[in-house]
């Protein structure tokens, strides 16, 4: 039933985010396709790249919002003692919350892309499912760092509004740091990784090259470390 609780707790935020992403992205793609020339097909592919960049930006805003909550927010609302009186470890409470958030984040990447493919296909401009999957993979794995950051912030910072403000600030800071470091080591630019810019072929307007397993692994490791840190913080915290 902890899963059910985590779902009920985030349901509104998740569904609103999902609706928002689907509507914005399908509207953007539908509108852009109506003004694109029928040929060449490359223009469609380029549009998909831009659509994904928009999706990545909005997706990050949404998953940071999804990462808010947990025991600290419950304490602010005065209900943490109900949760903590349950015969459940704090690690399990945190793990369930993180898992539900990860699944919702994945859905927030897949469903809008599915909607984009659908709208595109209806407009007679089909796009490759493999390319869409590549975009989703980059977004979910790279973007997981931002979700983990939100989880970590929500485990440290109290307050209904303070926590999201700090989380968004931290995300911007991460973006600036990655941007600065990337001048020396381009592969460290998280934004370019998430948007697929590192793999974007400017001639074909498609993602090319092998799947960046190392980058994916590195991002997931960073996210896992932040998840672990947030669990440790919650375990030690007093309520």
């Amino acid at each position: 039933m902890l899963w059910y609780k985590a779902w009920l707790e985030t349901r509104t935020r998740f569904l609103v985010s999902l609706g928002f992403l689907v509507i914005i992205l399908t509207f953007f793609v539908h509108h852009a396709e109506s003004i694109l020339p029928r040929e060449p097909k490359a223009s469609t592919y380029e549009l998909m790249f831009f659509a994904h960049s928009y999706l990545a930006g909005l997706w990050m805003l949404c998953v940071i919002l999804l990462g808010m909550g947990g025991l600290l927010r419950e304490r602010a609302a005065g209900v943490s003692s109900f949760t903590l009186a349950l015969p459940v470890s704090r690690a399990r409470l945190a793990a369930v919350r993180i898992t539900v958030g990860v699944m919702q984040s994945i859905a927030l990447a897949i469903v809008p892309w599915a909607a984009i493919l659908f709208v595109s296909a209806i407009a007679g401009r089909p796009f490759f499912v493999s390319q869409a999957s590549f975009y989703v993979l980059l977004l979910v794995t790279g973007g997981m760092v931002y979700f983990a950051l939100a989880i970590l912030v929500s485990s440290i910072v109290d307050g209904e509004y303070t926590a999201p403000a700090v989380a968004y600030g931290a995300a911007i800071l991460v973006g600036i740091i990655c941007g600065s470091v990337s001048k020396l080591r381009p592969f460290l630019d998280l934004w370019r990784f998430i948007t697929g810019d590192n793999h974007y072929n400017k001639t074909t307007h498609l993602l090319s090259g092998p799947i960046p397993w190392f980058g994916i692994f590195a991002c997931l490791c960073v996210a896992a470390l932040m998840f672990l840190a947030s669990v440790r913080v919650i375990q030690r915290r007093e309520f």
Partner: protein, 297 residues
């Protein structure tokens, strides 16, 4: 059923910076009886309960609840499976409906009794579909109590359970607590309502400024505590009555009021020696004992 204490603490301390919320608390709650935990606001009652449930870590000392160490997260989790806890502000998830809350809470406990939950739901008149955030304070209290009473826990910990209830609800609550105790559940509850405590408690613990001032059975308190009002021909000397078992001595002119937890005979003898013109010994209620205890401290 065991005779081991349901709750036992040794030198339990909780400090927040320089402030000691709980000071060297040695508590022993006997099993299968109703123990009331009294104290003024900020006396450390809720802090103690939170330590017992593993929500906050003690700064020093140790304790066990149902034989499980409170400082060990795994043991504390095991203990919580056998404890029903109702917190002070009756915290429940506002986004859940009454039905969802009951289903959610029931899923965590092996001793959950569906039939009892249904019976209590009917008796309390709780609307199943209504969101918890839309319930009145009294209704929320009833729902919190339902979650606690729909089980057969070994230990019931209630933090001001009657808060928000009407007189009928309070009466039902007291009867239920007595019934739970008769079924073998140990009841440990904090309250500001002395009259309620006097009606159902077997033992009373009084906490003041983090210190345990009184830990005795209610019968023992009733038997041993007395107020002795004395009248003398001249102004008496208060220190003459400072002796073992004397909690307080207050003088006003030729009158002296002695509050004793024992040694009453010695006080009377001293009063005779000092040629008291009137000696009146009266039993005192828990309310007086509580007020004198916290006043003296």
């Amino acid at each position: 059923m065991t005779n081991a204490p349901a709750i036992e603490t040794h030198g339990l301390v909780k400090s927040y910076g320089r402030v000691e919320a709980v000071r060297a608390l040695n508590l022993c709650v006997e099993p299968n009886c109703i123990t009331a935990f009294l104290g003024c606001n900020g006396a450390g009652k809720s802090t103690t309960i939170k330590m017992l449930l593993g929500m906050i870590a003690p700064s020093a000392g140790e304790g066990t609840v149902l034989g499980k160490r409170i400082g060990d997260p795994n043991e504390s989790r095991e203990a919580r499976g056998k404890i029903s806890y109702v917190a002070e502000n009756k915290p429940l998830y506002g986004y859940m409906s009454v039905e969802q809350t009951i289903r959610f809470a029931g899923s965590f406990y092996r001793d959950w009794r569906d039939e009892t939950a249904k019976e209590l739901l009917y008796r309390y008149g709780l609307p199943l579909e209504r969101k918890v955030r839309l319930l009145s304070k009294g209704m929320r209290t009833k729902l919190a109590l339902l979650l606690a009473f729909a089980r057969r826990p070994e230990l019931l910990i209630l933090d001001e359970p009657s808060e928000g209830l009407d007189p009928v609800g309070i009466e039902e609550l007291l009867q239920t607590l007595v019934g739970q105790c008769a079924e073998g559940t140990t009841v440990f509850f904090s309250s500001h309502q002395i009259a309620e405590v006097e009606r159902i408690a077997d033992r009373v613990c009084i906490l003041d400024k983090g210190r345990l001032m009184v830990d005795a059975s209610l019968d023992h308190l009733r038997e041993s505590y007395r107020r002795i009002d004395l009248v003398f021909p001249t102004t008496p000397c208060e220190p003459d009555f400072r002796m073992n078992g004397i909690e307080s001595v207050r003088g006003a002119g030729c009158q002296l009021s002695v509050f004793a937890s024992g040694n009453v005979e010695a006080v009377i003898e001293r009063a005779h020696d000092l040629r008291a013109t009137s000696i009146e010994v009266a039993p005192v209620g828990l309310r007086d004992i509580f007020l004198e205890t916290v006043k003296e401290n």
